[in-house]
Symmetry: C2
Subunit: 434 residues, 2 copies
């Protein structure tokens, strides 16, 4: 085969064969196809798209470029959750042990924060000693023994995705639904799961700003899951404001522990329970997600979920006292209240701006190699729909370094829209796509 023929075919709007896609991805991973040729192909795919058959071939070629986690010896279903990312989205941290507590094996491989969105790995590393870099063997052993483990991407899984993703990043070919979906799903399918629940965010803080685009993304992800024979469900959920009460790495672990104690905020608790219900459902433990939710609620109430979290932290070399005493984690030296400059109702929050304010203060990163301060973050007091009076605290910043504090305060103030009338109420969960 010849890479120029493959590029031409996609350039001219034709569908590639499974063989052509597999050959091109293998040849690029092996270094036989050059970066500039892969870049031309990616741009042709970006503009002309991939049909369902091509998309599955692309995903499975990336999946098969590396090894797959072998969880075949485990009893019970193996189910993961993936979120497309948002501000304050710590759900994986309470959800994974909660699902494990009701009998689902959760082999979760997560990412780091970049830009306005945080990453599960960064949050977990706020726990003293917590190791997100287990070998695949240790990962499998932990899932077998505890029922859950949470680690970062390794070089062994879907190496083609890693190489292609790095190239997309520098060639303006990131924001393509098929390429995004193939990237997500090749990594998730490499976990050796038989069920997957997707949390597709929609709104101002999400990658997809409109419900329609989010629906398209969700359907494409679910379609790939089906092609792979993995039971896949996607929930489209609200990201028009930060999720829950806290934003920031250690602060989000605190909130996660609150949720596991049954003392979390309504929205994050509700989303955690619902997603756990769907994980039980796609894992075949229950007949519908409602039954799964009931199981999860019981496991929160009787402390099994918190206990599972404690076991997971210990198994991954973290300090298990965190489950009872979150103060073992770093906290910020200073706080700064951001107060409303007029009265009315919170009409909207520019969620990206809130996330970027956290980045300014050192709580996130702009480039992959930036260090982060786990203690930095925000406590959100007023969310969309809340009445506010001039002088009310909208949000409290936790910071260590005041160099860019005023800038962050300005961004947050600018992010809050206060109007005279309350906005229309928005759902937490828009729809479920199976």
């Amino acid at each position: 085969m010849n890479i120029l023929d493959v590029i031409k075919k996609k350039r001219d709007g034709n569908a590639l064969s499974e063989q052509e896609i597999r050959w091109a991805i293998d040849a690029y991973t092996a270094g036989d196809v050059r970066d500039y040729q892969a870049a031309a192909l990616l741009m042709a795919v970006f503009i002309n798209g991939l049909d369902d058959r091509e998309l599955w071939a692309w995903t499975s070629a990336m999946l098969q470029s590396g090894s797959t986690v072998d969880l075949s010896g485990l009893k019970g279903p193996k189910v993961d959750k993936h979120s497309t990312g948002g501000v304050g989205d710590k759900i994986s941290i309470p959800l994974a042990p909660l699902a494990a507590a009701i009998g689902v094996n959760v082999p979760m491989i997560s990412g780091r924060g970049l830009g306005h969105t945080g990453g599960t790995l960064d949050k977990l590393e706020s726990i003293p000693g917590f190791d997100t870099r287990l070998s695949i063997d240790a990962f499998v052993r932990t899932v077998r023994e505890v029922g859950v483990a949470m680690i970062g991407q390794t070089g062994e899984l879907a190496p083609a995705d890693r190489k292609l993703y790095a190239l997309r990043d520098v060639t303006a070919t990131v924001e393509s639904i098929p390429l995004i979906c193939a990237s997500i799903m090749s990594k998730k399918l490499a976990e050796g799961i038989d069920g997957l629940v997707l949390d597709v965010k929609t709104g101002s803080g999400a990658f997809m700003k409109t419900l329609n685009d989010s629906r398209k993304l969700a359907r494409t992800l679910v379609g790939i899951g089906k092609s792979a024979g993995v039971r896949t469900v996607a929930l489209i959920t609200n990201m028009n404001q930060p999720l829950g009460r806290f934003v920031g790495n250690a602060l989000e672990v605190r909130e996660s522990i609150d949720i596991l104690r049954g003392q979390g905020p309504d929205d994050t608790t509700e989303l955690t329970l619902t997603l756990a219900g769907y994980m039980a459902y796609v894992g075949g433990l229950v007949d519908d997600a409602g039954q799964g939710r009931a199981l999860a609620q019981a496991a929160l109430a009787d402390g099994r979920a918190l206990e599972k979290f404690r076991q997971m932290v210990a198994a991954q070399h973290g300090d298990p006292r965190v489950a009872d005493d979150p103060d073992v984690m770093a906290s910020a030296a200073h706080r700064k209240e951001v107060v409303a400059d007029k009265s009315g109702f919170v009409a909207a929050i520019d969620t990206v701006a809130v996330g970027m304010a956290g980045v300014l203060l050192g709580g996130g990163r702009l480039a992959k190699e930036d260090p982060i301060d786990p203690a930095v973050g925000m406590e959100v007091f007023k969310t969309v729909g809340d009445p506010v009076k001039k002088g009310d605290v909208l949000l409290e910043i936790h910071y260590n370094d005041d160099k860019r504090l005023e800038e962050a305060v300005g961004m947050i103030l600018g992010a809050y829209q206060v109007a005279e009338t309350p906005p229309e109420k928005q759902p937490l969960i828009y729809e479920v796509i199976e």
Copy 2:
């Protein structure tokens, strides 16, 4: 400026500003934009196109990436001709001295053969000693003294085009009308001309197979010429069969000398005279191309054109005896007749196949670094519309090495379509676009 923003804009189907185009091309030429980024941009341009304003910005950015030949001191118009390439298209060789003989300065920069089409430089180098690598200074001096010089592309002119063209070649982004036109015109405009005649080929042996596509290409080229303030005319001419009687480097120089002696075949003589007429016209020497053609006919008839050719060969260190004795050039050791296997009329000739048969025999090249045998080629006896009897010689091969002779014979036989009825007569010149 940021290359990702520029790529995104074109990727999403928006028009780039002149500043963005100039910056991107300069940054790529300087090495600040990487090959893979330029490849992504080229693919986005390939698929989404460039409007007239963008196209002129792209062309002039490539033009201004290098120096321009300074012909400002010359008396008389400075006019070049460019052909989009075909099989047997030796027209530049008689045309350039003919136009010079009637008072047009012809600073011609040509290319080499690749694939089924030959190149003017390779043909000229069949003349013993002929030097196509003059410095720009020597080039200008020759045009000043003789009225004509014919050289190859140099690194000083439009270096951005050279770098981009090499990248297009390996990223399947060659066949784009705007990119082709910008490439051609940036090099031509760098010659410092004030008039340009374009011979846009159409048909089986041309880059553009249909009249419609050829028209689009011609109009785009003429549009760029106008934007540059250069009087530009395009003729759309027939390439449904090899042009003239000979195909092959030394053989085409022989035919060129025949034309200059007034003894050439009808089609190549006619095309040479017509193009010379248009060169005089765009050069402002005459009021219409017909008057220019009459001047050219007189210069052929009285030997001035052949004398100009002799002077040019001598000025470029070639053996000027070639003008009177073409046998100073190499000729092939063997000949092989290809005969008709049935009677009827030549209905069509697959011109690419004829060109590629010449490549097989060593008369052309598949890769830029391949050596060529100047003596190899073909004499065409039967062309489209001719009646043939079984056993008639269609074409005679001139060869030195018989390794791939049978394959070449098979290709040529397959290229000739013989039908029971004569085909519709095709014009030599389809239309003129000003």
